[in-house]
C-alpha cells in the first residue's frame, strides 16, 4: 500500500512540476537555472583566486552541484502544503485517503529528487566542460570514482532531504503565511552552513560546530570522497546518525503538527478566496 502511494505521488509530483509548460521549456528550465548557479560559482572562483587551485575549485564546484539535491527537494516540499491546500485544494482529499499523507510527501520528495538528478548531471557535465577551458579541472576520473559509496551517499541524502522537507510541511500545516520565507530560510541556512562552497572551518567557532549537525554537510563530504575514489568511515557514520535524527525529529514534528491541525480544524484552511 505504502509503495503504491509513493509511486502515485511521484507521478503526481512529476506531472505538477512539469506540465505547466511544454516539454522543451520545462527541460530548459531544469537545466538553465542550476547551470547558471554553478557558472556563478565558477566565475567567483576565477575572479577571486589569483592562483589556480584545482583542489579548492573541485571542492566548491562539486559542493554547488550536489547541493542542487537539498535545494530542489526542500524548496519543493516547502511549498507543498500551501499548493495542495490553497492552490489545488486537494489536501483534504489526500487526508481522507487512509494513511496517505506521509507517504505522499515522501513520493513528492522523490519526484523532486528525479528532477534534481537531471539538473546535477547536466550541471556537472556542462559546467565542468566550460571551466576546463579556463584551466580549472574537476579532477574527476570516471574509472576511479567509488560508485558504491556515491550511490549510498545519494540514497542517504535523498532520504535525509525528504525528511528535512517533511519538517517544513509540518510547520506549514500549522500556518499559511510562512511557505515562501521558510523554504528560502532553509535553503539559505543550508547553503551557508553545509560547506557547499567553502569549508565549514571558515565559519566562526560555534557556527562551525553547528554546521556538523546538518545531514547536508556530511552528504557533500561523502560525495566529494566518493568522487575522489576514496572511502572515509567518519562522514558515512555522521551521515547515518544525522539522517536518523532528522527522520525521528521530522516524524515527531509531523505527528504533532498533524494532531494540532486536526484539533484546530485548519487542515483545509485557505488564505485565498
Amino acid at each position: 500500500m505504502a509503495m503504491r502511494i509513493i509511486k502515485e505521488s511521484i507521478w503526481i509530483g512529476w506531472k505538477i512540476e512539469s506540465n505547466w509548460t511544454d516539454p522543451f521549456i520545462f527541460f530548459s528550465y531544469i537545466i538553465v537555472k542550476p547551470l547558471a548557479y554553478v557558472i556563478i560559482i565558477g566565475l567567483i572562483f576565477l575572479i577571486g583566486s589569483e592562483v589556480v587551485n584545482n583542489e579548492y575549485f573541485s571542492y566548491s564546484f562539486i559542493g554547488a552541484v550536489f547541493f542542487i539535491y537539498p535545494l530542489t527537494m526542500i524548496i519543493s516540499l516547502g511549498y507543498l502544503i500551501h499548493e495542495d491546500r490553497a492552490k489545488y485544494e486537494v489536501l483534504k482529499n489526500i487526508y481522507i485517503a487512509p494513511n496517505a499523507i506521509k507517504f505522499y510527501i515522501i513520493g513528492r520528495a522523490l519526484a523532486s529528487a528525479i528532477n534534481a538528478s537531471v539538473s546535477v548531471i547536466i550541471s556537472i557535465v556542462v559546467g565542468g566542460f566550460i571551466f576546463s577551458n579556463f584551466g580549472l579541472g574537476l579532477d574527476l576520473e570516471l574509472d576511479i570514482i567509488n560508485y558504491l559509496l556515491l550511490i549510498i551517499s545519494l540514497i542517504l541524502g535523498i532520504v535525509a532531504f525528504s525528511f528535512m522537507g517533511m519538517i517544513l510541511t509540518s510547520i506549514n500545516l500549522l500556518t499559511n503565511k510562512l511557505q515562501f520565507s521558510l523554504s528560502e530560510y532553509s535553503s539559505g541556512i543550508l547553503f551557508l552552513f553545509s560547506g557547499v562552497v567553502f569549508p565549514p572551518t571558515m565559519l566562526p567557532e560555534p557556527l562551525y560546530l553547528f554546521s556538523y549537525s546538518f545531514p547536508t554537510t556530511h552528504f557533500l563530504e561523502l560525495v566529494r570522497v566518493s568522487l575522489n575514489g576514496s572511502f572515509a568511515l567518519s562522514p558515512l557514520i555522521n551521515m547515518i546518525i544525522t539522517t536518523s535524527i532528522t527522520i525521528v525529529i521530522s516524524i515527531m514534528l509531523f505527528n504533532h503538527a498533524d494532531n494540532r491541525a486536526r484539533e484546530l480544524g485548519i487542515i483545509d484552511r485557505k488564505a485565498e478566496y
Partner: protein
C-alpha cells in the same frame, strides 16, 4: 489626474502597511539575502580574494532585494491578485491600471530601499567591508535611474504575467539565477576578462547590471560622476524605453486577457 494619484497612494499604502502588518516578511527579506551574501563572502575569503570583492558582494546582495521585489512584488503581482481574487476588483474599478502599477512600484521602492540599506549595514557589521562615497550627487542620480529602470521592467513583466497562469511563478523563478549570472551580482561583470564582450553587451540590457556596476564604482572604487557617465546614459535609455513599453504592454495584454477570458481564470 487626482484620481490617478489617489490610486497610486492607495496601492503604495498597502505595500507600506505590509511592512508593519507582516514584519516577519520584512525581516526575511533582509536575512535571506544575507545568508547567501555571507556564503559568497566566505568563499572569497577562503581564496584570499581582494577586499573590494567582499564589498562588491554586499552591494550585489543589496540590489538582490530590489530584483526580488521586482520579480515577486511587481511581475507576479497581478498573478497573485488573480489567485487571491483582487484582480477582478481592479478590473471593474473605474481607475487607471497603470496607476495601480505605479503605486505598487512606489511602495515597493520605499520598503525595498529600507531593506537594501539594512543588508549593507548588517553586512558591514559582520564582514570587513568598507564603503566610501566621494560623489553623493552621482550616487543619487544612479540610484534613482536604477530603481526607475528596474521598476519599469517590473511593470512590463507585470503586464506580460497577466497572460500567465501556473507558469507565472516558474517564469519568475527562472529569472533569478540566470539574471544573477548576467548581472554580476557577486562579481564584476564589465571589468572581467572571463566574460565575452557579447555577453557583457547583452547583460547591459538588464537594468540590474548597470545599477550594480554603477553603485560599486561610486561606493567601493571611489568613483565620480564622470566614471559612471555611461551607466547614467544606459539607465536613462532603459527608463525611456521600459516605462512607455510597460504602459503599451499593459493595455495590449489586458485586451488579450479579456478576449481570451483569462483575467479571472484560476488553476490554469
Amino acid at each position: 489626474m487626482i484620481n490617478d494619484l489617489r490610486v497610486v497612494y492607495a496601492r503604495a499604502y498597502v505595500r507600506l502597511k505590509g511592512l508593519i502588518r507582516e514584519p516577519h516578511w520584512s525581516i526575511a527579506e533582509v536575512i535571506i539575502p544575507l545568508l547567501s551574501i555571507s556564503a559568497y563572502i566566505y568563499m572569497y575569503e577562503a581564496m584570499n580574494a581582494a577586499d573590494h570583492l567582499l564589498a562588491f558582494v554586499a552591494i550585489g546582495g543589496a540590489m538582490l532585494a530590489f530584483w526580488s521585489n521586482v520579480l515577486w512584488g511587481m511581475s507576479s503581482q497581478f498573478y497573485w491578485e488573480k489567485e487571491t481574487g483582487n484582480l477582478t476588483q481592479y478590473m471593474v474599478a473605474p481607475i487607471s491600471r497603470m496607476a495601480i502599477l505605479v503605486g505598487m512600484a512606489i511602495g515597493g521602492m520605499l520598503n525595498t530601499t529600507l531593506r537594501a540599506c539594512s543588508i549593507i549595514f548588517i553586512g558591514m557589521l559582520l564582514f570587513p567591508i568598507q564603503l566610501s562615497l566621494i560623489d553623493p550627487f552621482a550616487l543619487v542620480i544612479i540610484f534613482i535611474l536604477s530603481i526607475s529602470a528596474l521598476y519599469g521592467l517590473g511593470m512590463l513583466f507585470a503586464s506580460l504575467f497577466l497572460l500567465y497562469g501556473r507558469e507565472a511563478s516558474h517564469i519568475a523563478d527562472l529569472l533569478q539565477e540566470p539574471i544573477f549570472l548576467l548581472s554580476g551580482l557577486y562579481y564584476p561583470i564589465f571589468n572581467n576578462r572571463f566574460i565575452p564582450d557579447i555577453v557583457k553587451m547583452a547583460a547591459s540590457i538588464i537594468p540590474l547590471t548597470l545599477a550594480i556596476d554603477g553603485l560599486r564604482i561610486l561606493l567601493v572604487l571611489n568613483g565620480r560622476f564622470e566614471d559612471v557617465t555611461m551607466h547614467i546614459i544606459g539607465l536613462s535609455i532603459l527608463v525611456a524605453i521600459l516605462l512607455p513599453l510597460a504602459r503599451k504592454a499593459l493595455h495590449k495584454l489586458e485586451e488579450i486577457s479579456k478576449k481570451e477570458g483569462r483575467l479571472t481564470l484560476r488553476w490554469q
